[in-house]
């Protein structure tokens, strides 16, 4: 239940912050947000944690790989874009 509150409040905070971003920066915003969604890597580490190898750990490992590509790739792309806006 507490988690649900956190979710709703974070959504409101997100809406409030992001409506203020000018259209020019929408692409970097999107790819940045995209990189953040790779935060699933935390969840992946949690499930891949146990030291005996079973299905859960394998799935978690794959998830870690995917999420890490997402985070690293996403931030690299965003950074390259923001470099272009820097004057």
């Amino acid at each position: 239940m507490a988690a649900l509150f956190v979710f709703v409040l974070a959504s409101f905070a997100g809406l409030e912050v992001i409506t203020k971003v000018p259209p020019t920066l929408h692409t970097p915003l999107m790819s940045g947000a995209n990189a953040i969604s790779g935060i699933a890597v935390i969840g992946a580490m949690v499930v891949a944690g146990p030291d005996q190898l079973n299905l859960t750990v394998w799935l978690g490992l794959i998830a870690i790989v995917f999420a890490t590509i997402n985070v690293v790739g996403g931030f690299l792309v965003t950074d390259r874009m923001l470099q272009m806006f820097k004057k």
Partner: protein, 384 residues
Amino acid sequence: MTAMPQMVGLLNGLGGAASALVAIAEFYRLLGEGTVPLSAVSTAILGSLIGGVTFTGSAIAFAKLQGLITGKPVSLPGQQIINIILFVCFIVGSGLLLINPLNTTAFLGITAIALVLGLFLVLPIGGGDMPVVISLLNSLSGLAASAAGFVVMNNVLIIAGALVGASGLILTEIMCKGMNRSLPNVLFSAFGGAATGGGSAAADAGDKSIHQIDAEEGAMMLGYARSVVIVPGYGMAVAQAQHSVRELADQLTKKGVDVKYAIHPVAGRMPGHMNVLLAEANVSYSQLHDMDDINPEFERTDVALVIGANDVVNPDAKTDPGSPIYGMPILEVDKAKNTIVIKRSMQPGYAGIDNNLFYRDKTMMYFGSAKEAVAQLVSEIKQL
């Protein structure tokens, strides 16, 4: 940099897949312990649904943008019904799973359905609607991360996911507004397919004449104008013409021409696509203008230069209630004193409809790939 939309699409898919895998992995962990609490089951269902849809949906979006599969809408006969049946199956599967959380067949089944749903959701959507799809998938990948957060009960995940979900939602909303279409309309109408091809407009195109010009005339018009507004579109992105365009603008500015850029919200294949490309070519921020800013300016503009844009400048959207894009806000280049359209051919744009603008007396067509055409204009202007 041109490959940016598909890059974002691909990364997005990986994020979605990771979230789905977390949900699935957690489900199996609990299964191994023998008891799966109801709350965990429901969040695992959500996680695999959103994550699965994001994964396959993004994969298709990537393939479409990369040109691996056709950018045109693809749908099976009775697609809507198939989707509804799949969704009902998903609900039933979820119900079974909620009643008996140890039912792994049901869980695998609904995960497979989620993956298929992702395919069927994006396949019928055409290339021009990609800004909406990309931002929607972005939003979904956030929600998927959030759902994964619920599964493993991790606040960081929930918060970050919710932020991403919210930002994606806003962008989706803005993109839809830019096309004056609702989200369900974009997702389910297979726009631009044979059914809505606007056959009548294309049919009577034959007897209309166009005015064609070459680089020299174009350069004269541009060079001796007082104000020029450049309208870039996806064609500029494909041809990677942004640097040539910047050079053109520089030459014009040197000649004392006032140059501005008009950016339509859905120009290109992702939100803000044109802005990024022009920023890459070092075009100053302050020269870029939104649709609402620039539209009143067209009346005072000598030449509007349309580079690889089509539907976003189609005046039918305002005047012809029968047009499939009627009601979509456009850049009103038809109000400028003259319009030059750089285009590869008379092929209709993404919406598959004819553009009335091209047949107007004030409109000059300059055929060629955006990059070479603009480069020629630049060299001609240098000689003026």
